[in-house]
């Protein structure tokens, strides 16, 4: 159990439409807002996240490099329009980490569009393993709960219980 989870302030989960579906504070460190503020925050962040993805700098390819004819591609992804991204190997993504003086926010977006925002103090390490574990708990205790409706607010007692237990140090 990563010992440095003491620096985890709070967690927010946003569904793929930008709606807030889960918010929980584990440790005080940030100002706590009303649920309405969190709803607004989730909505704006959803938009901002998309914009940060679209303002990714594009490097013009002067002589259009013959895009490697991947013979086996089915319907090919949108053809390169004379631009390449700074590091082409990595898929483009929106905002992943946000640093401020008082806290650090990690945003993990799943391929299905769900976003996990984890707020930790700037020095907390191994944030990626923490957020990966949270995703596994979410996949287990929310997605497998027949009483949870997809894209709706998460009110799964087992999820809260396991998340709290894991983050507060008891396995």
């Amino acid at each position: 159990m990563p010992d440095n989870t003491r620096g985890v302030f709070s967690l927010i989960i946003i569904n793929k439409a930008g709606g807030l579906i889960y918010q929980r504070e584990f440790q005080s460190g940030l100002r706590n807002l009303s649920t309405n503020d969190y709803l607004v925050l989730a909505g704006t962040f959803h938009g901002v996240h998309a914009i940060t993805r679209s303002i990714t700098p594009k490097i013009p390819i002067s002589q259009p490099a013959p895009s490697p004819a991947t013979s086996s591609t089915g319907i090919t992804a949108p053809a390169a329009s004379g631009y390449s991204y700074p590091n082409p190997g990595v898929p483009v993504s929106g905002l992943d980490y946000l640093e401020t003086d008082k806290f650090r926010m990690t945003c993990f977006q799943t391929l299905t569009g769900t976003k996990f925002l984890l707020f930790t103090d700037p020095l907390t390490g191994s944030v990626d393993t923490i957020i990966q574990k949270i995703y596994e708990l979410y996949a287990d205790y929310v997605m497998k709960n027949p009483f949870y409706q997809i894209e709706m607010p998460v009110r799964c007692e087992a999820f809260d219980r396991h998340l709290g237990a894991w983050l507060r140090g008891r396995t």
Binding site: L30, R31, L33, D37, L41, T44, F45, G47, V48, I51, T52, R53, S54, I55, T56, P57, K58, I59, P60, I61, S62, A65, G82, S84, Y85, P86, N87, V90, P91, V92, S93, G94, L95, D96, Y97, L98, E99, T100, D101, K102, F103, F119
Partner: protein, 250 residues
């Protein structure tokens, strides 16, 4: 370290300065040096360049909402420092006068907070605010684009980027310039014609064989400036290198 673009927004949420460096895309050897040339050679641009003004609006929108979010969560005294995506890193610095400095760099660059502060303190304040010619307010970026500021900005970024990358030996600007480096100087509000005019004027001056480096020399459009600079400015460059990185002009 590669810098992609740099913006300044005033307290009226208007983009008063924008600079984009588009490094050569597929430089095989090491880091593509962010060769910067002022003034886009109008003819050089084959591809359709994305209309640049909405880019700055998007950047401002992002930065503004993130700043508010951070203020709301972390408290009024917390401020937004930087964010990273899988492709780039955005650095942000806001002065108490609500002037916002934004810089987009690649992922490997360290925190540019100090650099932005330096740009604000040494460049913006010195050459824009204290410049009697430029108005106190900068609607449409008027007065920010004076050569002094531009020139020093180049130096600062050039030196600070070289500091980080420990100087690529033997690389001369001229040999890499193959026509498609371009930096779009875009000051919102200034008509295209005026921009081209200022660029041409600098162009003719730079071609004269003996280029005595003077403070007010505006960098040429097509990078010739660098070659002359190298010839005449060698001692300047070496001087800048040993001196502390931000002393810019003799």
């Amino acid at each position: 370290m590669v810098v992609y673009s740099f913006y300044i927004f005033d307290r009226h949420a208007e983009c008063i300065y924008k600079r984009r460096w588009l490094p050569r895309p597929t430089s095989t050897v090491g880091k593509s040096r962010s060769d910067t040339v002022s003034g886009a050679a109008p003819t050089g641009l084959g591809q359709t360049v994305r209309s640049t003004d909405d880019d700055s609006k998007l950047v401002f929108g992002t930065v503004f909402s993130l700043r508010n979010m951070v203020r709301k969560l972390g408290g009024e005294d917390d401020n937004f420092v930087s964010f990273t995506t899988s492709q780039y890193k955005l650095h942000y610095y806001e002065t108490p006068t609500n002037t916002k400095f934004v810089m987009l760099t690649d992922l490997k660059s360290p925190s540019m907070r100090i650099a932005l502060q330096q740009i604000y303190i040494n460049l913006f304040v010195e050459y824009v605010v204290k410049n009697p010619l430029s108005p106190t307010e900068h609607p449409g970026g008027v007065g920010v684009n004076n050569e002094l500021f531009e020139e020093s900005l180049e130096q600062n970024l050039e030196v600070s980027s070289r500091e980080q990358v420990h100087v690529r030996k033997g690389e001369t600007a001229g040999s890499h310039r193959s026509g498609h480096i371009e930096a779009i100087i875009y000051k919102s509000g200034i008509s295209k014609a005026q921009e081209r005019h200022s660029c041409n004027r600098a162009h003719t001056a730079a071609d004269s064989p003996v280029v005595k480096h003077t403070v007010l020399r505006a960098p040429a459009c097509d990078g010739t400036f660098w070659r002359e600079k190298k010839i005449t400015g060698a001692q300047h460059r070496s001087q800048a290198r040993q001196g502390h990185p931000y002393r810019l002009f003799m």
